[in-house]
């Protein structure tokens, strides 16, 4: 098989994950003691969350907070009625924030959609409630129509004469997604678009969705750093290899988890395992845990714990980090799959 090596995993991630007993996840954990209360207190009266307690509601932190609350026992089984209500109000905030063209924007006053559209579609799909199908459908259509600017015919022609295009190593024929419309393809927005397109609703979009998924996956593999892992999407500049980072590597691996045997997946997962103990901050720590758990890898008991990371700077009060920590201590089966 071209581009592949023998898989390093003894069993496939889904199988490995199924072998992990459910009671290994979320008990009386740091997430339960610190992060869940932070999320409860940080919700705004409009149902949304800001990036910090008391800050303006934004789509991105709201998505993560909803996902975190839903993850504790699965969205249909959240036992705490207050949390169920908080989730419902968060989901309502998201639906109400949708723009007329089906997209979502990064701030309430902005009327141009961006990459958070993928995040919302992923979260709404995960809520498993049919009443969101129209919103999801509008969002997925916008995602499929949102082509990056760097791969237009005009830009490809311009690149022939551009010095900068010769200084980077990436295939301009491939097209993923950018952070904002009319810009270039990058790792994280491409990964989240792929996660959104896992929604069962995407099958109704037919060949365009399939084409975009294939192109998006190709972009991620093209942008992988030498030896495994991803950074923002610059694997090499001026002949110097870029360093991978935990957060983009996690989202890329989740988006590509259908291909566990591919050399790139194997190398990147190995990179994540090797670097897990070097992580110094709670956000990356939580996200790396998500990555390893989603691939059925055990977490090393000798690594620092979430509370030790939090003690350093109180996670800078981040709702997002609190949400990721809850997800990291939850069973990925309860929240990772679209429609879960």
């Amino acid at each position: 098989m071209n581009g592949r090596v023998a898989p390093a995993l003894d069993i496939e991630p889904a199988e490995a994950l199924a072998s992990v007993p459910m009671d290994n996840f979320l008990e009386n954990t740091f997430a339960e003691k610190v992060c869940i209360p932070l999320l409860r207190n940080a919700q705004n009266s409009d149902g949304g969350w800001g990036f910090h307690s008391g800050s303006q509601s934004r789509v991105e932190p709201t998505c993560w907070a909803v996902k975190a609350l839903a993850s504790r026992e699965g969205p249909a089984k959240v036992s705490d009625s207050d949390d169920r209500s908080a989730m419902a109000r968060g989901l309502e905030f998201l639906v109400s924030a949708q723009l007329a063209d089906g997209s979502w924007s990064a701030t309430p006053e902005e009327k141009t959609g961006c990459w958070v559209t993928s995040l919302v579609c992923w979260v709404l799909s995960g809520a498993g409630d049919g009443k969101f199908s129209k919103a999801i459908d509008g969002g997925l259509r916008w995602i499929c129509d949102d082509w990056p600017r760097d791969s237009s015919w005009l830009q490809k022609w311009v690149r022939k004469f551009s010095a900068s295009s010769r200084l980077t190593r990436q295939n301009p024929a491939l097209r993923g997604w950018g952070w904002t419309p009319n810009t270039s393809s990058w790792t994280e927005p491409t990964a989240f678009a792929l996660l959104a397109l896992e929604s069962p609703a995407a099958t109704q979009l037919g060949r365009l969705a399939e084409k975009r998924k294939k192109l998006g996956e190709a972009v991620l593999y093209d942008r992988m750093c030498a030896g495994g892992g991803w950074n923002c999407g610059n694997p090499e500049v001026y002949g110097v290899a870029g360093e991978p980072l935990v957060i983009p590597t996690t989202w890329a691996l989740l988006a590509l988890r259908r291909y566990p045997e591919r050399r790139e997946n194997v190398e990147s997962l190995v990179w994540m395992e090797k670097n897990f103990t070097k992580i110094q901050a709670p956000g990356s720590h939580a996200v790396a845990q998500i990555c390893l758990a989603a691939h059925g890898r055990s977490r090393d008991g000798n690594t620092p714990k979430s509370d030790e990371f939090h003690a350093k700077n109180e996670s800078l009060g981040s709702v997002q980090v609190a949400s990721w920590t809850v997800l990291a201590e939850s069973d990925p089966r309860s929240w990772l799959a679209a429609g879960a």
Binding site: N182, T183, W186, Y238, I247, S284, E314
Partner: protein, 307 residues
């Protein structure tokens, strides 16, 4: 717009002379507090009872301390502003390539120098934002979102590291302001700025969010393929000034580069500050004594200035 930095755009010939101070500082281990305090005191800055925001250049994981503004400089500057009577001195940045800002500040050991950061450090990438109409049209951008912490600060200090940059030529106090453009609105990297044109975007951002002061960490800079993958370059200097354009122009001269050949800096010299030496009152050490010629990538070889 409340508290949007209120400096008017003034043509160079109408602007008063700017003041730049170069101080020799051999290493980060030396006592920097007194040096920085005395330098700032010499400018008689209006910071008493004010909220000061320090904006260092934090671009990536940097355990060796070669790509980011050094924490010893940040901590000494913060202490100095407090000694000068500032009511609060915040530190804020929005790194462009990595959304885990806390991982970056831990990698540079900022907490070891400054203390707990929960109430001192603001991640500008995820701060509350406000939309601002840009007063200039250097790029096609008509407006940008900026962090409320930046717009609300009484006194804003750009604190870059002395570095060359593979797309812009140099990255100093003006280019450093890419870090106030929030990633939560524009992503990691803030690619909309690249599409707008890096040189033009630097001008538009600096015309909207005007730093009151600049302090450049030139103790160890970076040459070649900066801002991340370049080579450390000892320069042994700290550069202070009340005009970021003049500070950057002086830094270029310290690096052996011609500021008027750097596109955005030449343009900034027409409306934001001074590039020409006859409009810059330079105090402290002389340029020639501390000049270290920095290597640049081949595309910027034209920036070289004869010794």
């Amino acid at each position: 717009m409340a508290n949007l930095r209120s400096h008017a755009l003034i043509p160079s010939f109408q602007r008063p002379t700017s003041r730049v101070m170069i101080r020799a500082a051999a290493s980060y281990e030396q006592e920097l507090g007194t040096l920085i305090y005395e330098s700032l005191a010499d400018f008689a800055l209006p910071v008493k009872d004010k909220v000061v925001l320090l904006k260092p250049n934090l671009v990536g994981l940097d355990p060796l301390g070669v790509m980011n503004t050094h924490p010893a400089v940040i901590a000494a500057t913060r202490e100095s502003f407090l000694r000068l009577g500032a009511a609060q001195v915040l530190i804020g940045d929005g790194p462009a390539m990595d959304r885990d800002t806390e991982a970056i500040i831990e990698s540079v050991r900022l907490r070891e120098f400054v203390g707990p950061l929960a109430r001192t450090f603001v991640d500008l990438n995820i701060d509350d934002v406000e939309r601002v109409s840009l007063p200039t049209r250097a790029s096609r951008l008509k407006e940008l979102y900026f962090p409320k912490t930046v717009l609300g600060a009484d006194f804003f200090v750009s604190m870059p590291k002395l570095k060359t940059h593979h797309w812009a030529g140099v990255t100093l106090s003006l280019k450093n302001l890419f870090g106030v453009v929030p990633g939560s609105c524009y992503g990691w990297p803030k690619n909309v700025l690249h599409w707008a044109g890096i040189d033009s975007a630097i001008l538009d951002i600096n015309a909207a969010v005007r730093p009151d002061f600049a302090i450049v960490d030139g103790i160890i800079g970076m040459e070649g393929n900066g801002p991340i993958q370049g080579t450390p370059k000892e320069c042994g200097s700290l550069i202070f000034g009340d005009d970021p354009v003049a500070v950057d122009a002086t830094c270029c001269r310290l690096m052996g580069l011609a500021p008027e050949r750097i596109k955005y800096l030449a343009s900034a010299g027409t409306m934001l500050g001074h590039v020409n030496t006859d409009k810059i009152q330079q105090v402290g050490e002389g340029i020639e004594g501390l000049r270290k010629d920095f290597a640049v990538v081949p595309e910027f070889a034209r920036l070289r200035q004869a010794a």
